[in-house]
Structures are given as C-alpha cells and as structure tokens.
C-alpha cells in the first residue's frame, strides 16, 4: 500500500435543515486502502459519504477526490423489484467510460463479462434482478461498479439485512477487488465486528464527529466496539 491520498476531507461540516449532521470533520483515505466507516445510525456516516461522492453539495470545507468514484447506496424498493437482467445492470456500469456513445460496444461487453465471471455471476446473467437474494443483488452491484473502471468504490451498508454467511460472501467479493484490482474501498457499516475483521482502517463517527480513526487492532483496546 502506498501513501498517496486518494480522498482528502478537510474541515467538512454539513447541515440538514439547519441541524448540523457533520461537524468539522477531517480525514483522508490512501490509495488501495479498505476503510470501514462505522458508528450509530444517524451519526452522520452516510451523510459524510454522500458529500465525498458528490451527492451532498452544500457542505462547508474541502473535499478532494482523485479519480472516478462508484457509489453503491442502500437498495431502494424500486431497485428490489426492478425488471432487468443481471447482465443489463452490470453492463450499465460501463456507461461512465464512454458517456457520449449511444450503444454498448465489444469492449464494454468484454469488461462486463470479466466482471460477471469474477463475481461468479456469469452463468446466471439472464436472471431477473428482482428474483435474486440479497447477497446476489449486492454482488451484481459490485460487478457493475467494477465495470465503471472506477478506482474508488464507496458502499453504504451493503450487508444490511443479510445473514452472516451471505454477508461474508459480500466482504469476500470486496476483498478480491481490493487486493487483486487495487481498488480503494470505503464502506459504511453499523456492523462494527465484521468491519474490524475486514478493514485496513476503521473510522468511527459519533454525533457528527470522528471519535476513532486507526487500524482495527487499536480499536479493540478502547473497548467501544459495541
């Protein structure tokens, strides 16, 4: 891992309806790191992540992101019932690579096939998204993120509502991307235990402030892993 800072967050604050959700937060994420952002619900993790990927625009402070980001939000009800095949969804990840063109070309399809194979989805590529299990859906979204050739993947609670074995598969897929493809991973989670097991570094946010930002081994000693 090198120390090139791929995401820099400097003194960022964000207010929603004049209520401060994030207070003067500073942190950075290095290229190739696997970082988990943990904390209680409503503590500001998702809000911070939305600022980083550019969905929340009116924040105070500075955020620098080098390279393209793929953002996986929590699944909405519309997505859970969406009539589209796995292949159609994964292929749509390539749009950002050539936004001007009208159709998918051979290169797009090759990238899509690679992603499908890597995440063991190729044989079921014609299956409908709405018929998949929660874990399969997450793998489809991760495959789509791979197709966008983004250097950073930001995920908001991808293992929410999944049973432990399936959640482990999602982590495994993310590990593969992180180690084999060198993609930086930033993941929001409220499952602190699993985050500690998997991440290179853990950032804990409570009431809009960073209260912990270090390697997982140090987190245990502080005894706040609830």
């Amino acid at each position: 891992m090198n120390d090139e800072k791929i995401i820099k967050v400097e003194n960022v604050s964000f207010a929603y309806h004049s209520h401060n959700v994030i207070n003067n937060v500073s942190a950075h994420i290095n290229k190739g790191e696997f970082v988990c952002i943990v904390g209680e619900n409503g503590g500001g993790k998702s809000t911070l992540v939305k600022c980083i990927v550019g969905l929340n625009k009116n924040y105070k402070g500075n955020i620098t992101v080098i390279g393209r980001v793929a953002y996986l939000s929590q699944l909405t009800e519309v997505q859970n019932n969406f009539p589209a095949t796995i292949e159609e969804i994964v292929l749509s990840g390539t749009i950002a690579n050539r936004p001007r063109s009208i159709f998918y070309n051979k290169e797009d399809k090759r990238i899509c096939r690679e992603a499908l194979e890597k995440l063991a989805l190729y044989d079921m590529r014609k299956k409908c998204f709405r018929e998949l299990s929660g874990g399969q859906k997450q793998r489809v979204l991760i495959a789509r993120a791979m197709c966008s050739t983004a250097k950073i993947i930001v995920l908001d609670e991808p293992t929410n509502g999944l049973d432990p074995t399936i959640a482990a598969q999602v982590y495994e897929a993310l590990h593969t991307l992180n180690k084999e493809n060198g993609i930086t991973i930033v993941m929001v989670s409220h499952d602190i235990h699993r985050a500690l097991e998997n991440a290179d570094r853990v950032i804990q946010i409570t009431k809009g402030e960073i209260v912990f930002n270090d390697v997982p081994s140090k987190f245990d000693h502080r005894g706040c892993g609830k």
Partner: protein
Amino acid sequence: MIETILVILSHPFMQRAILVGSLVSISAALLGVILVLKRYAMIGDGLSHVGFGFISVALALEHFFAFGWAPLWITMPGVLVVAIILLKIKNNSKIKSDSAIALVSSSALAIGVAVTSWSTGMNLDTCNILFGSILGVTQSDLWISVISSILIGILFILYYRKLFAVTFDEDFAKASGLRARRYGDLIAILTGMIIVIGMTVMGTLLISSIIVFPALTSMRIFKSFKSVVISSGVISLVSFLIGIYLSFVHDISAGAMIVLVNLAFFIIFTIMEMILKK
C-alpha cells in the same frame, strides 16, 4: 371483419386518428416504463388535468378573439412548463409531492371548467376534451402529433442506456458523472408532450392510463428491461387498434374502449404470472 376494417380505413378522419393514436400509443408506452419505475406515474395523471386547463383557456381565447391557432400550440408549452415544475417538486423532499400534484391538478381542472362555462358553456367540445374523440384529430393536430412522437422515439433510443442507468440507480449515475437532473428534465418534457398529443384521441381523463397500463402489464411477465420496453410498445399498439375497432363497430367512446382493452391485457398477464409462478 376485414370489410369493416376496410370501411374504417376509408374514412380520412379514421386514418388520421389511427396514425396519431398508433404513434402516441407506442411512445406513451415507452415512456411509461420509465415513469412507472421512477414512481412518476402520478405526474402523468396530474399533467393531463393541467392539459385540460390549458386547452380550455386556449379554446376560450379562440372563442373571444378568433386567432385561428390550433389549441395545442398554447397547451403544449404550458403543460411542459408545469411538467418540469412538478418534477422539481418531486425531487425536493421538503414538499409532499403527491399532495402538490393533487393541488395542481384540481386547480387546473377548476380553471378549465370555470373558463369553459364562462365562455362557450359546457358543450360537446368539452366532453370531447375530457373523454377524447376520434373525430377530433385535425390536420394540424396530426402534424404536431407525428413530429412529437417521432422525436420521443428518437430521443428514447439515443438516451436508452442513460435512461436505464438513471432509472435503476440515480445516485450511482450521479456519482459516476452522469447529469441525472438533465435526464429527469428530459423525462418530464417528453411526458408533457405525450399527454398533450394523446389528449385529442384519448381525452384528458383517460390519457394517463395508456402511459401506465402497458408498462405494468409487461412487468408482470417479462424479466429484462429491454423485453419490458418492447412488450409495452406492442401491447399498447395492439390495445389501441383493438380498442378503436371495437369503438367503431359498437359506437362506444374510443378512449374508454382502449383503456378497457388495456385492462383486459393487464388481467390476462396477471393470471399468466400467477400460473407461471406455480
């Protein structure tokens, strides 16, 4: 049956109605897939009432000043502006979008009714606007409709990939640099256009059904986005043709008949879905 069809096709007004209706049915169904998935279906319904308001004002102006303009030339820009405003409200979480649509659509309906009763009075024209009329398609309507439908078809194909991406996951599309807002505006404008050009044949009260029905029907059975889109277009066109045939033969309102055929398809597909799942 073939003789009846030949008789139908021999009337110039029927030729116009069939041409306009077919094009509108297909383009409404294409857009419908996106509107239903994006939960924008109510916007279509609200816009049709707004269309009634504008067309009533246009007819009243015509009644008093006799400009000689086709009412659609006034209705189209008006509806498009309201379409964009309604979409902005939908994206602004501070205002409850469904209540806003209810306010806008009932106000527009009230304005339409007030203006009509003050100028020409409620007459057959009003009835035709509300419930549609195959006799109502004039030569200038024909041109507006043909051009708009073709434009919608072309834009849909050109932006197919991006419309899919934005419909499935707006946040992902935005984060990877697509201008999702722009596609939202595009969808609103196209919806406004469909509502206005479909009003003459379908009527303002029934037009939103041809946007919603084919998409919902197709989603019962089809599993890929592409097949849902194609099937919606086909179901919509077939429903229109069967509907207009039955309407001619039994002398029933065309708009109502088309909606009923669409409903029949929806029920058939729902039953098929239940059988397939077993």
